[in-house]
């Protein structure tokens, strides 16, 4: 920042092409979402007659906006229930893999046991296994165990699919903590559990938080796993299934679709803006180190 302040003022104009290209790209990237947001507040007939940009002809005519679309979607389209379902799915499906991955990552980074290297290489391989290859056998297992259409089944499935990335990211982070620190604690006679809870977990908070954001966004936005293991139409369906059903059955009802889409986006957007810093730093912990 300091360096930028010291630069002479003429620089700003020399950089005009850079400013213009960044502005154009940012504009193009934001436009689709803004269009959706504006549309979701418009009335049904207005939306079918004119494009959403026509509100800019009289932007302060407040009668053209209303909240009716949201109320209708929440009540009659089952989005309210789906929203609660999504929360019920996403929170444990974030906490469970974090707990399991942090313990495993600590063991991989700082405990000695035979086969450690090999087991970790298996985890690295599992990072890229397409989850499609697992659907049929797990579906059959769920049918036998009576786990299909249950939250428990979905939590465990998300845990399984999220774990490789979690263990990988966290082991890279925990393994990079200073060796002296952990050895000093060991010399003082601290048990592994004590080192883990008093030292490792607090120090790894940035990495844990970033994985949490990553996993949460992923679970909240997931359609495939919910579709396969929760079976489409049941009362445990999350917002993504509900919305995708609406696209199928009410494809022309733009007033409902846009409001519905925005309801599915609210929580991810809050999480995204709230924890953006962690999110970015966390992906880096695993990937940028060459």
């Amino acid at each position: 920042m300091i360096k930028k302040k010291n630069q002479p003022k003429t620089e700003f104009w020399q950089k005009a092409p850079i400013h213009i290209s960044i502005l154009i790209i940012s504009f193009i990237w934001t436009l689709p979402t803004v269009g959706l947001l504006i549309s979701s507040f418009r009335r049904r007939d207005a939306m079918l007659k004119t494009g959403w940009w026509s509100i800019f002809e009289h932007p302060f005519e407040l009668t053209q906006y209303h909240l009716g679309n949201y109320l209708e979607v929440l009540q009659s389209q089952g989005m309210g229930q789906a929203f609660l379902n999504s929360l019920t799915i996403a929170i444990p499906a974030t906490v469970i893999p974090i707990a399991i991955a942090t313990f495993a990552a600590y063991a991989f980074a700082w405990m000695k046991f035979p086969g450690r290297q090999l087991l970790f290489i298996i985890v690295v391989c599992l990072l890229v296994v397409p989850l499609q290859t697992t659907l049929i056998p797990i579906l059959r297992m769920y049918r036998d165990l009576g786990l299909s259409n249950s939250f428990l089944g979905v939590w465990l499935a998300h845990t399984g699919y999220g774990l490789p990335l979690g263990i990988y990211l966290l082991r890279n982070y925990i393994g990079a903590l200073p060796r002296d620190l952990i050895e000093a604690a060991e010399v003082d006679g601290a048990s592994h559990l004590k080192i883990f809870t008093k030292l490792i977990v607090p120090l790894s908070m940035p990495a844990i938080a970033s994985f949490a954001v990553f996993q949460f966004l992923w679970v909240w936005n997931d359609l495939l796993i919910a579709l396969v293991y929760l079976g489409g139409t049941s009362d445990v369906a999350p917002v993504t299934i509900q919305l995708s059903n609406m696209v199928g059955s009410r494809g022309q009802d733009w007033h409902l679709l846009t409001a519905g889409a925005f309801i599915t986006m609210i929580v991810p957007l809050i999480v995204f803006f709230g924890l953006q810093r962690y999110f970015v730093r966390g992906i880096l912990a695993g990937s940028v180190k060459s």
Binding site: G51, L84, P92, I122, C125, I136, I283
Partner: protein, 325 residues
């Protein structure tokens, strides 16, 4: 009242799910501490990694082996059919279309989102409002494929010539004096329309990771090059790109994996009709619409085979990282 009881249900379910896993670890640790000392040291690592290994084997390793096995059986997994499902996968007209489309997705999404991400990362490094611009471009990462599909269905919306266009793209085209285009229906353009969505979603991701790599290049190297008379263009090609090559590889790998697995966009936007099928969406169709588990499994295995080179690259990178540690 009903709302409150529902919310209570939600809280209860969440508490049960989260509490369960933490309780598990405390219980295991308690059990280990009851053992005599030398045993304890020996067993503890296994207690720490056991839950992870059990989950990974149940949800990834075992099912994958099972799927490979099932891919040699008929639709209802009863009779052994040898390579018949694979022969189907490589000869069926619909499958060939899916392969062609997936190739198109791979080349265009990876090529454009990585290079555009890199260009933005380099440009944005030079301005003071960098965080805002980055957030705006990164934002689609938070949006689900389904949500994005609604956004883009609205952008691609088509009304016949003469009617007012409510889709942004056709409104622009009509104002320029052209006929409106059925973006999702016309075979010469619909695949590109779908690919554009994925590029919109992932350019921000590429940008963020490449941007931190660009910032990691030591300042004095660039200074030195500038003193030697290099212009921005030469610095970009001869310093920036070679210095962040490994990050470019990581980012491309991630995008390739994501593209191979892509299913939601096609599923929600076109249902795979009008020649827009991709491998993953085709597989879901075989499995859940046609109930042919043999073919579905064979397609899944092909997906896995396509990813194996990426897997090998990952192991290599991990090994060389370990040597530095």
């Amino acid at each position: 009242m009903e709302v409150i009881s529902r919310i209570l249900e939600v809280i209860l379910a969440i508490a049960f799910g989260c509490g369960g896993v933490i309780g598990l670890f405390y219980l295991a640790n308690y059990g280990i501490n009851a053992l005599p000392k030398p045993w304890n040291r020996h067993f503890l690592p296994w207690v720490y990694i056991a839950p992870a290994m059990i989950v990974l084997s149940t949800y990834l390793i075992w099912p994958t082996i099972q799927t490979i096995y099932l891919s040699f059986f008929d639709g209802r997994s009863q009779n052994f059919v040898g390579l018949k499902n694979y022969i189907f996968a490589f000869t069926d007209q619909g499958m060939l279309v899916a392969f062609r489309n997936n190739l198109l997705w791979l080349v265009l999404v990876t090529g454009i989102s990585v290079s555009l991400g890199l260009i933005i990362a380099v440009l944005v490094d030079k301005v003071s409002y960098e965080p805002i611009a980055k957030s705006l471009i990164f934002l689609p990462m938070a949006i689900s494929f389904v949500g994005a599909s609604v956004i883009w269905k609205f952008i691609y919306a088509y009304k016949p010539m003469g009617d007012a266009q409510i889709g942004l793209l056709n409104a622009v085209i009509v104002n320029l004096g052209f006929e409106p285009v059925g973006w999702l229906v016309e075979r010469y353009v619909n695949n590109f329309a779908l690919i554009a969505i994925m590029i919109w979603l992932y350019t921000g991701f590429c940008m963020v990771i490449l941007s931190s790599a660009v910032k990691g290049i030591p300042e004095n190297i660039i200074e030195a090059a500038r003193i030697d008379g290099a212009n921005s263009w030469q610095i970009f090609w001869q310093i920036t790109i070679p210095m962040i090559r490994s990050t470019i590889l990581v980012v491309s790998t991630t995008v390739i994996i994501l593209v191979l697995k892509v299913f939601d966009i096609v599923f929600v936007m076109t249902g795979g009709n009008q020649g827009t099928e991709v491998i993953a969406s085709r597989m879901i169709k075989e499995m859940f619409n046609f109930r042919n588990f043999g073919r579905g499994s064979a397609i899944a295995v092909i997906l896995l085979l396509l990813i194996i080179p990426v897997m090998i690259g990952n192991i290599r990178r991990f090994r060389s990282q370990e040597r530095l540690r």
